[in-house]
């Protein structure tokens, strides 16, 4: 690379702009890819074809067409709505998702910012979107939205704890809270942490599903009960924001799970210099494996009831996660 290019990229503002642009492009892209995968996979499971005509082949342009459609829609805000809150809510939901991308290591040197408390940061930021959902539910001046928003809040309280506790096992094993550090620790150990953290991984995935409010935990939306839950009054590009955030959130949470438990951008037997450029591909492949599982659950499971969800969280997941922490701590001392 010529020296002026390196100079340019080492400039703080230039690299910041570049990173921001990358994230701004990455989120719609990831959202579209997952949205399209969901359409096609659900079609496959239901003996349908799915999108077919848009774009000529396999309907690949379907989501682009959908996105354009959303922008053409009238932006309706209910008369009784709390306007500023109503308008802020979709942004807040998306901000939580964008901020999560910051700490995900895509390669040995490919990370937006390697925070020392990355795990802590990621879990804190990921619950930000739930506040956006609660705001959406409250400000819509719609009873269905209100119930949906309150359900989302109840879900957040119930599932934040198992989510945090499930991660502790991996943190204990690695001895660091930096996501990059956890991946490095897995490389040094020579095995992904899922080998020792099966319980932790399971609890994390269940809690992540609840956090994303996807079936079987989609009570905040619950189409057959609450029409569309907190989304009922949203239309146009605000609705699109929520949609995009859901798909992008699926990606980020799966990416964090892949980083913590599946070895992140690392595959056993791949030399370091190859990881430099193969890292992102490996991480994205692992992430999409988890995303696929989420889509699979979405189209094969019914929905729990709110009280049953609380029961699962407090009676099963929290004790399991605590047991996992104790077992991991003992293991760490013995090893």
């Amino acid at each position: 690379m010529p020296s002026w290019v390196t100079d340019l990229f080492s400039n703080f503002w230039v690299s910041l702009t570049g990173k921001l642009l990358l994230v701004a492009l990455l989120i719609p892209l990831v959202g579209m890819v997952i949205g399209f995968a969901e359409m096609k996979l659900s079609a496959k499971m239901q003996y349908r074809v799915g999108p077919y005509f848009a774009g000529g082949r396999w309907g690949w342009a379907q989501l682009i067409a959908d996105g354009v459609k959303f922008f053409q829609k009238e932006d309706i805000i209910p008369t009784d709505a709390d306007r500023p809150v109503f308008k802020t809510a979709p942004m807040l939901v998306l901000v939580g998702t964008v901020a999560l991308f910051v700490v995900i290591p895509f390669g040995p040197n490919l990370i937006f910012r390697d925070l020392d408390v990355a795990v802590f940061y990621a879990l804190a930021i990921s619950s930000l979107s739930t506040i956006g959902i609660l705001m959406a539910g409250w400000s819509s001046a719609n009873k269905y939205s209100l119930i949906g928003g309150l359900r989302a809040a109840g879900q957040l309280i119930a599932y934040e704890l198992p989510l945090v506790l499930a991660v502790v096992g991996a943190v204990i094993l690695a001895g660091t809270m930096s996501l990059q550090g956890i991946v490095q620790a897995q490389i040094e150990a020579g095995y992904p942490y899922i080998v020792l953290q099966v319980i932790g991984f399971g609890v994390f995935m269940v809690a992540a599903l609840a956090e994303l409010s996807r079936i079987p935990f989609d009570m905040p939306i619950a189409e057959s009960e609450l029409v569309m839950g907190y989304l009922t009054e949203y239309s146009g590009f605000r609705f699109l924001f929520f949609f995009l955030a859901e798909f992008a959130n699926m990606f980020t949470l799966s990416a964090i799970a892949a980083t913590l438990f599946l070895g992140g951008y690392w595959l056993p037997g791949v030399p370091d210099d190859v990881l430099e450029f193969a890292g992102p591909i490996i991480l994205i492949a692992k992430t999409f494996l988890l995303v696929f599982a989420m889509i699979w659950f979405r189209w094969t499971f019914p929905r729990f009831r709110e009280d049953q969800l609380q029961r699962i969280a407090w009676v099963w997941l929290v004790p399991l996660a605590i047991f996992n922490i104790i077992a991991t701590a003992l293991l760490k001392v013995i090893l």
């Binding site: 239901q46 009873k143 079936i215 057959s224 009960e225 029409v227 499971f301 009831r305 049953q308």
Partner: protein, 396 residues
């Protein structure tokens, strides 16, 4: 001075928590709502997720069929009754036609009766498959819908091949049935009343339906979440069900073995061997499972009927202009949704003087305020879906 009991209750609550004043919320479910099967409206008063009072409001779909039939001739009315419970349109025609025939004293040819019976059971399969498609959807599982609808299509194709219509066949005539190709050539009419290969295709379709029933059973019945959502939810005790006039699969799920196919003689059901399926607990799961198993019984009846169908005429001798003698009668039949009856009063004219329609769904949803009291909001949908009503059948 009257005392508002609600106000008193709120006052007493307010003294407990002065800072946090709570209020009941009136939640209006419907008439436009994804799971009200049309335009039913439920005014529910909820306290958080707990709903303690439900008030169903009906009539959004009232089309005045009872009054309308007073100014229509008998052959014209079959088109109207088709549209009462549109999920099983064919089955609606039978009790009405039978009522008119009963007053006229007509003897319907055996073959026509068998064809009516086969098609009624097909309508029952189609209706129960629709239920099996939509019920998991209401609980959040989208995929069984496609499994059930795919098989329903086979049954509807068969219905269409005989009657020419999928939803509104309008196939029965007073004194018999209308042959499939009656409007075509006379030779064809004489040679074949049912389309060629109908029996063979029915056998194949019935095998497929049985496979699908087993598949749905494995897919849905063993699902932990479905069991958690439906077992013990919306329990309907047999004495309450009887008191409210609940009929059909909803009644049988409560353990009452009451089936009009066994007790009435509107079609020759007594010649076939089939069981009356009953549930044990009368909860949502039982109501779902009874319908699934009833598909199997219907398949059993159809298989026996196509093996033993006699040959002969399709139509009894009737005058060109049909006039029903003066008199009144009530004929009831086991519709897929429950008991459907027509109280026919004739003054000897070309149309009925009065036609009272007793539809199954109307009586079945009268249980809603009782069964939904003190239930959770998600369970409202689970219970409502399990009662399997159609709004056309409620409002008429």
């Amino acid at each position: 001075m009257t005392i508002d009991s609600d106000a008193v209750r709120h006052l007493s609550e307010a003294s407990v928590s002065v800072e946090l004043q709570t209020e009941d919320m009136t939640l209006n479910i419907g008439p436009q709502h994804p799971s009200t099967h049309g335009v039913l409206r439920l005014v529910a008063r909820v306290d958080g997720e707990r709903c303690f009072d439900v008030h169903p409001v009906i009539g959004y779909m009232h089309r005045g069929y009872e009054k309308l039939s007073e100014v229509r001739t008998y052959p014209q009315i079959t088109t109207i009754v088709n549209r009462i419970d549109w999920v099983s349109g064919y089955a609606n025609e039978i009790p009405f036609i039978t009522a008119a025939e009963k007053l006229m004293g007509l003897e319907v040819p055996e073959r026509a009766q068998y064809i009516r019976l086969i098609l009624t059971e097909m309508a029952r399969i189609a209706s129960h498959l629709i239920f099996n498609a939509s019920y998991p959807l209401e609980l959040g599982a989208a995929t069984p819908l496609f499994f059930a609808l795919r098989e329903r299509e086979r049954v509807l194709d068969l219905l269409e091949s005989v009657t020419g219509g999928r939803f509104h066949p309008n196939f029965n005539r007073i004194g018999g049935v209308k042959p499939a190709y009656a409007s075509g050539s006379t030779t064809r009419k004489l040679l074949q009343d049912l389309p060629a290969g109908f029996f063979a295709e029915t056998r194949v379709a019935m095998d497929k339906v049985l496979e699908a029933v087993d598949e749905l059973d494995a897919l849905v019945a063993d699902n932990e979440i479905i069991v958690a959502r439906t077992k013990g939810v919306g329990v309907l005790p047999p004495e309450v069900a009887v008191a409210y006039g609940v009929s059909g699969p909803n009644l049988r799920a409560s353990g009452v073995a009451f089936d009009l196919r066994k007790t009435e003689d509107y079609l020759p059901y007594d010649r076939f061997d089939f069981d009356v399926i009953t549930g044990e607990n009368g909860d949502c799961w039982d109501r779902w499972h009874v319908r699934l198993l009833e598909i199997k019984e219907s398949v059993k009846i159809i298989r026996q009927a196509i093996d033993t169908i006699p040959s002969g005429d399709l139509q009894a001798k009737v005058p060109k202009v049909i006039k029903v003698p003066k008199g009144e009668t009530y004929v009831r039949a086991e519709n897929p949704k429950g008991e459907m009856g027509y109280y026919l009063v004739s003054d000897g004219g070309q149309g009925p003087y009065r036609l009272k329609i007793r539809s199954a769904s109307f009586s079945n949803i009268s249980i809603l305020p009782w069964i939904l009291e003190g239930i959770l909001v998600p369970d409202i949908i689970a219970v409502m879906g399990s009662l399997d009503f159609v709004l056309g059948d409620v409002d008429r």
